[in-house]
């Protein structure tokens, strides 16, 4: 009877140990996945590929590079934009550069951007990742990756939006795609952001 009880105790202890190990492992994997999903990607400033095209801000202070699959679209007079649209006119890829117009500051940029989205065109917006001290060609920036839902149409977009400060100017570059297509669009959008040139 004593032997049986001791054996049963060892089995219970082993079961508890196994359960704890499994819970710890699953928790670690889950937490690790969330962390990876929120990590801001490395941006390596570099000139765009030779076949890319360029749009210079009307004030001459920055240059947006975009791949040939995009085409310029109209927007603010002071800004430049390029996009790839479906046959029905839906945005697949979107790039925009606008000179700094408001009270944007590097340190508060992520919060500023989200606040602006919510107060302007988005029914909701949430931050995915952010980074300070991002190196650009000719400047330094603060960037945020976020997701938002437009008030009109309920369209889900994901974007990387950076406030970049150069020697003589500051401007905002936005690279966006439908949230559902973000994974596919991300490399090209990051390439365009990395090629951004500011003076």
């Amino acid at each position: 009877m004593i032997t049986h009880t001791a054996r049963r105790g060892r089995l219970i202890l082993a079961a508890m140990t196994a359960t704890a190990a499994i819970v710890v492992t699953v928790t670690a994997v889950t937490v690790s996945g969330r962390s990876l999903g929120h990590a801001f990607p490395q941006l390596h400033p570099a000139a765009a590929p030779a076949n890319w095209r360029h749009l210079t801000l009307p004030n001459g202070t920055a240059v947006l590079s975009y791949p040939p699959s995009l085409r310029p679209i109209s927007g603010d007079k002071v800004a430049v934009s390029a996009a790839r649209l479906t046959a029905r006119g839906a945005f697949q890829l979107y790039l925009n550069v606008t000179p700094r117009q408001g009270s944007e500051q590097l340190a508060q940029w992520p919060a500023f951007r989200l606040r602006l989205l919510r107060s302007d065109t988005a029914a909701s917006a949430r931050q995915v990742a952010a980074a300070q001290g991002v190196k650009f060609r000719g400047g330094t920036g603060s960037c945020v990756i976020d997701r938002y839902v437009t008030r009109i149409g309920g369209h889900h977009f994901q974007e990387i939006a950076c406030l970049v400060v150069g020697r003589i100017s500051a401007s905002v570059i936005v690279a966006a795609a439908p949230a559902a297509a973000w994974t596919q669009a991300r490399p090209l959008l990051l390439r365009a952001v990395a090629a951004y040139l500011i003076r």
Binding site: R7, A15, A18, T19, V26, T27, T30, G33, I73, S74, G75, D76, V78, A79, S81, A83, T86, G89, A90, F91, N96, V97, T98, R100, Q101, G102, S103, E104, F112, L114, R115, L116, L117, S119, D120, T121, A123, S124, A125, R126, Q127, R147, Y148, V149, T150, R151, I152, G153, G154, H155, H156, F157, A161, V172, I173, V174, A176, P178, A179, A180
Partner: protein, 102 residues
């Protein structure tokens, strides 16, 4: 024999627990993605170059979860949506540009 049966039941419980945790992690990733049908309607790009800036107050708000497809009415936006005010793409359901809305 009785002990072995309990041991097997314990293992089954552990396996069920692990499977439940795994499913939860998967749902986290899947749930974060919006429905593809949300993109069926085509937000139109801006039609003109006209743009009028408006002074706007900036309101501090807390982060909220993604909203349903039906957009709520907004009262603190001086740039009318639905191609009103300026005619940027972002006032027609398109992606937001980088203006500061001053």
């Amino acid at each position: 024999m009785f002990t072995h049966a309990r041991w097997a039941a314990g293992l089954a419980l552990i396996a069920a627990l692990a499977a439940g945790c795994g499913t939860g992690a998967g749902l986290y990733g899947t749930g974060a993605k919006p429905a593809a049908t949300a993109h069926s309607a085509a937000p139109m790009p801006a039609a003109t170059h006209h743009h009028h800036h408006h002074a706007r107050p900036v309101h501090a708000t807390v982060t909220t979860p993604p909203a349903p497809a039906t957009a709520p009415a907004q009262t603190d936006n001086p740039i009318p949506q639905g191609n009103g005010g300026d005619q940027d793409a972002d006032n027609n359901g398109g992606p937001s540009d980088g203006d500061g809305n001053i």
